[in-house]
């Protein structure tokens, strides 16, 4: 469709405009992660032993950057549920908008939002002592990996928002899947310090794997194994939830 790109751009601009208007959204995606950085960096660094150069702050930052990317994607579910509830999506679907534009615009604006978030978190991290130790190339790759994780979780979020369609339910449900995924991982504490039964989950879930790879990129360490595993997980999730999200959208 010749209007595909134009409509996607309009939708992207629209979503960004909305997001910047609401203080609560900005809080949730930027200020809260900043608070997490400061909280974990200063409160827990003394108590959590880690075996990396540069201390806890270096251990922490890749984890928090990934976690912020994941949490930022959560907004996607809420925004979509809200739009469905208010009939906004209905109106769009009765207009001559390119069919793909709504989800494409959504994804594009969320990617931009994510990128802004992780850049801000990184800057704060630098402020409290974080340093890359593996060169610029890997550093950029690390950031791209974080953004990729965020985008993939956006697809899950989009599906959740389109399927559940109720803002409050989506919000509560989000806590159920997002929290374990981000907290029961290698983001904040080494997995070996967790009880045995939790380690099994934490070691093998995609967020942990991506964070481990990010840590290796940032600080030096084995890249290949986790690199492949991350790629497989990310592509796999995309392949499952992408089509699911599109189908859920068609059923609205």
């Amino acid at each position: 469709m010749r209007f595909g790109t134009l409509d996607a751009l309009t939708m992207t601009r629209r979503e960004l405009l909305i997001w910047f208007r609401v203080p609560a959204y900005i809080f949730f995606t930027i200020i809260q992660p900043v608070m997490f950085v400061l909280l974990f960096r200063y409160l827990f660094s003394g108590a959590i032993p880690v075996r990396v150069q540069g201390g806890y702050v270096n251990y922490l930052m890749p984890g928090i950057i990934a976690q912020s990317a994941a949490f930022a994607s959560f907004g996607t579910a809420i925004a979509l549920a809200r739009q469905i509830q208010k009939g906004v999506i209905d109106r769009f679907r009765s207009m001559p908008i390119a069919r793909s534009a709504i989800l494409t615009g959504r994804l594009a604006s969320d990617t931009l939002r994510l990128t802004l978030t992780v850049v801000v978190i990184l800057a704060v991290g630098y402020g409290v002592g974080f340093r890359f130790r593996n060169g610029w190339g890997p550093a950029i790759l690390m950031m791209l990996l974080a953004i990729a994780l965020g985008v993939v979780i956006c697809c899950i979020s989009a599906y959740v928002g389109l399927a559940i369609r109720d803002e409050e339910s989506v919000g509560s449900f989000g806590l159920v899947w997002l929290f374990p995924l981000t907290f029961v991982s290698s983001a904040f504490v080494p997995v070996y310090s967790m009880p045995g039964w939790l380690q099994a989950f934490a070691n093998n879930q995609p967020v942990s794997i991506v964070i481990d790879e990010m840590r290796s990129l940032a600080l030096g360490g084995p890249l290949v194994l986790h690199g492949w595993e991350s790629a497989v997980w990310l592509v796999g999730i995309l392949a499952v939830f992408g089509p699911l999200a599109v189908r859920a959208y068609r059923k609205v």
Binding site: R21, G87, R91, F92, M95
Partner: protein, 351 residues
């Protein structure tokens, strides 16, 4: 093929619906609906919650595909030519589909962009509509700050940005206060004067009466009556005289007293003491006679009034039962401002 479509598009009805069926699992929302709307006219689709009105709207606006049957908007099939249908329709659904974080102006301009209007046109059109709907003053405030009536007007404006030739309004005044309702009616009348075809669904007979050229009554997914407002009201038996008898034991006697006025049987509810009689076109004379008859047998009444027929009355006449909405709410009766004879009267006060 395309020429044939265009030819039909230029003549023929604005909307044609044939034997439309739609089920959602075990729920049969539409069980064979037929409709026809001529260009430039207003069709009022009347029915309670759950009757299937919104389902018809969703199918005609390409949001849903029917299970069986056919629907055509200006010569374009809603399933096979959905994209072509979307170019000429506007939709204002039951909830105002407005992005409340954005300003009124932004909402309208973005809709314009999504309709592929050139940028300058978007701005101009938004300005035009903001003026026309009386929200120019609030144009640059977030829609979140608008009153309910303003949001509805903005929603209606949004459905008009691309100047649709066929406009679908799904219960445009449900939930509005009486004054906003009347304001909305004025706006809608202006639209119609400009030649837009209007497909309007409503729960209120007075709204259908005010706005529609033709009315279609839908119950449980089927059309149970069609015609002009006058013909429908005649079928229903005209206006209704209604009162409550505080002395429950005398309800039947009260009903008997006013039976002489009635077209058909008086409606009696012994539990609430409510009596209602259809009085054709007697008008306020019916009220006077009712007062006299009730006084003659010495029965006191409360809330004696003459009112326009409601959706419940229509359903009672057409189906023998009250309009059973999904949530079993009593059909609301709209009252026109300044209508003579709609006064609650105590029988004694009239002496």
């Amino acid at each position: 093929m395309r020429d044939a479509r265009l030819a039909v598009g230029r003549e023929g009805p604005a909307i044609l619906v044939e034997d439309l069926h739609k089920s959602f699992g075990a729920v049969h929302a539409l069980r064979g609906v037929d409709l026809r709307v001529e260009r430039g006219t207003v069709l009022g689709v009347l029915g309670p919650n759950g009757a299937g009105k919104t389902t018809v709207v969703r199918i005609l606006t390409t949001l849903l595909a029917p299970d069986k049957g056919r629907a055509v908007v200006e010569g374009r099939d809603v399933v096979r030519d959905a994209a072509a249908v979307r170019e000429i329709i506007g939709l204002a659904g039951q909830s105002a589909a407005i992005q409340e974080e954005l300003t009124g102006r932004e909402n309208l301009e973005i809709i314009g962009r999504l309709h592929h209007l050139p940028k300058a046109d978007c701005r101009r059109r938004a300005e035009e509509l903001l003026e026309q709907f009386g929200i120019a003053g609030a144009a640059d405030r977030p829609a979140k700050t608008y009153s309910g009536g303003m949001v509805r007007r903005l929603d209606l404006a949004a459905s008009l940005v691309a100047r649709p030739s066929v406009l679908f309004l799904d219960e445009p005044t449900t939930g509005l206060d009486p004054r906003s309702r009347i304001g909305m009616w004025d706006v809608i009348r202006d639209l119609v004067a400009q030649g837009t075809t209007l497909f309007l669904t409503t729960q209120y007979l007075d709204e259908a009466d005010e706005l529609a050229d033709e009315i279609v009554v839908i119950d449980h997914g089927k059309v149970i009556a069609a015609g002009t407002s006058e013909s429908l009201k005649n079928r229903v038996g005209g206006d209704v005289v209604e009162f409550v008898t505080p002395e429950r034991t005398r309800v039947d006697a009260a009903a008997a007293a006013v039976a002489g006025l009635a077209e058909g049987e008086p409606f009696v509810d012994t539990e609430t003491g409510r009596v209602a009689v259809r009085v054709g076109s007697l008008g306020s004379e019916a009220l006077v006679r009712a007062v006299r008859e009730l006084d003659a047998v010495g029965i006191e009444t409360a809330g004696l009034s003459l009112r326009r027929p409601s959706l419940d009355d229509v359903f009672l006449a057409l189906t023998g039962h009250a309009a059973e909405g999904e949530d079993a709410m009593p059909a609301r009766r709209g009252r026109r401002r300044g209508r003579a004879g709609v006064a609650s009267q105590d029988a004694r006060a009239a002496r």
